[in-house]
């Protein structure tokens, strides 16, 4: 039979010689390999004290964006939800009332916005679909938890910190990635 790869090796059925029957040399040979790794460079890091840099295209936890004045960008157009292959995003829209202009950028906004992180596969299609520059995938993981209900992220969990009330947290949330050119 023709071998599929050239890595296959014919099993040898020869009786073992004296050195092989002693076993100890083979064990020492193995231990040498094991102990030699102590002096080599470690491939692991001490997470969470140390963190690896993310790739510029890393897709992590979603964040809902605000404009420079701190108003929410999302208008609950539903394009992220319809683009979501895992059907993780749900929302309910409401009309902006007089007096709420400092909260929401347009006359319609998402009164409720939820992402089920148990369903989310971090594909980034919501970010692609968004016409309002409102949802981004950030450079953070979804934190682990003991309970399933903690993974239903509401709008409060997802919104970026207010740029005027909490500028340091806002700058931190923006991350180090270069800003995408906005398309009008």
């Amino acid at each position: 039979m023709q071998a599929l790869t050239d890595k296959s090796k014919q099993v040898s059925r020869k009786p073992m010689n004296f050195m092989e029957r002693m076993y100890l040399p083979a064990i020492f040979k193995g231990m040498v390999i094991t102990f030699s790794h102590i002096f080599k460079k470690k491939p692991t890091i001490n997470y969470p004290e140390k963190k690896r840099p993310f790739s510029p295209v890393f897709r992590g936890l979603q964040i809902l964006n605000r404009d420079e004045e701190g108003r929410e960008n999302c208008t609950a157009c539903g394009l992220c939800a319809v683009a979501c292959p895992a059907e993780a995003i749900t929302m309910e829209a409401a009309e902006r009332q007089p007096g709420e202009e400092n909260l929401y950028r347009e006359e319609k906004y998402a009164a409720k916005y939820e992402i089920n992180m148990l369903r989310c596969i971090f594909c980034g299609l919501c970010e692609e679909a968004c016409p309002k520059d409102a949802i981004y995938l950030s450079e953070t993981f979804t934190p682990a938890d003991y309970q399933r209900k903690q993974f239903i992220y509401s709008k409060n969990d997802l919104l970026i910190p207010h740029p005027k009330e909490n500028p340091t947290a806002y700058q931190q949330a923006l991350g180090n990635r270069p800003k995408r050119e906005s398309v009008i």
Partner: protein, 368 residues
């Protein structure tokens, strides 16, 4: 037409069809169907006198008739041009037509606000479809878009004048279906706007049909405003015995769970109101705005949605819930629910009925 011999032959995009004399090119093309049919934004077959305004249905006539086979010098509006015997029409096979239509779409979009993310018509908007087929990615227009003061035209209908393309369909509806027209186009040229004459409310029994005929989101349902996106609601055909004279009682319900979010007239394949025995199936305002309970309707079945429409996305193709098989297989042992989503989620709260609110939802509605 007493005999069959009076039919005349017309060739549209190399497809020949026999039609009655007096048929327009557009209606002949609709008899063929498919890609051959020119798009129409202002022509509405159920409204007398409509058409000839938007210019999206332009076609090239390569040969006028058998008697006079010269081509027509300019592109013609197919909704207003009658067919002649032996006429040869080019629609999608003509580069001139595609070019002209792209230009028309660019003009229609000059002043259009492109606020599709907040527009309730998005997903079933004819201008959106047209823009996808013929639109450019950017705009060459460098000036401020035309804007209007907001005007309240009654409790049921929301008017967004900035989105209007001045197709005149709604004025024809008011003229031909209702007994009294209180709105129309006021002013001229760039200032032309749909308006009621000196701030009147439109309160006729059939005024809601203006919403159905509007090809864009200029006239939308106030009771459905911002409630949900069309593609998250499930359309089903339903009927009820309506006592209003002239109302056919046959409608499409747009459901979210068991709640009726919106009622519209049934649409045919051209996006127009469906006809029953040759009569257009207009529905009255009682059916459209005031009958929002599933119990008042007899549901017939799912509405057929075009495969290409976003409205059909992510939906079960039947009305029945899929059968739970785990209990059967496990000898009566119920599956253990690890999390009831309604106990955690704030969206689709079973205690908040958005369909009961006859205006758009406000922040106070979610604070219960």
């Amino acid at each position: 037409m007493s005999d069959e011999t009076k039919k005349i032959k017309v060739t549209i995009d190399n497809i020949t069809i026999d039609v009655d004399p007096g048929t327009t090119i557009l209606n002949a093309a609709r008899r063929i169907g498919g890609d051959v049919t020119p798009p129409a934004m202002c022509y509405y077959s159920k409204l007398e006198g409509s058409g000839g305004k938007c210019r999206t249905c332009l076609v090239e006539v390569a040969a006028g008739s058998t008697a006079d086979p010269r081509p027509m010098p300019k592109l013609v509006a197919s909704c207003r041009t009658g067919v002649m015997d032996g006429m040869v029409v080019k629609n999608i096979t003509s580069d001139k037509v595609t070019d002209a239509r792209n230009g028309v779409v660019e003009f229609l979009l000059l002043n259009h606000p492109l606020d599709c993310p907040i527009c309730d018509q998005a997903g079933e908007c004819h201008l959106q479809d047209l823009g996808y087929d013929h639109g450019k990615e950017g705009t060459r227009y460098q000036f401020a878009r035309r804007t209007f003061k907001k005007e309240d035209i009654g409790p049921y209908i929301q008017l967004h004048m900035t989105r209007c393309i001045l197709c005149y369909r709604c004025t024809y509806v008011a003229d031909q279906i209702t007994n009294k027209r209180v709105h129309g186009i006021v002013d001229r040229g760039d200032h032309a706007a749909i308006s009621t004459y000196i701030s009147k409310a439109i309160d006729n029994d059939f005024s809601g049909n203006m919403i159905d005929v509007c090809p864009v989101g200029a006239l939308t349902d106030k009771t459905f405003r911002f409630k949900n996106r069309v593609w998250f609601t499930k359309p089903v055909d339903a009927h009820r015995s309506c006592t209003t004279p002239g109302c056919c009682g046959k409608a499409t319900l747009w459901l979210r769970g068991e709640e009726v979010f919106r009622v519209t007239a049934r649409k045919d394949e051209w996006g127009e109101v469906q006809s029953y025995d040759g009569k257009p199936g207009w529905i009255c305002n009682t059916c459209r705005f005031d009958t929002k309970a599933t119990a008042s309707w007899t549901i017939e079945g799912l509405t057929t949605i075009s495969r290409h429409s976003v409205i059909g996305a992510n939906k079960y193709k039947t009305l029945e819930m899929p059968k739970e098989t785990i209990k059967e297989v496990m000898h009566g042992v119920e599956p253990k629910l690890l999390m009831d989503i309604h106990s955690v989620s704030g969206v689709n709260n079973p205690d908040i009925h958005l369909s009961d609110i006859d205006r758009p939802a406000h922040s106070s509605d979610f604070k219960k």
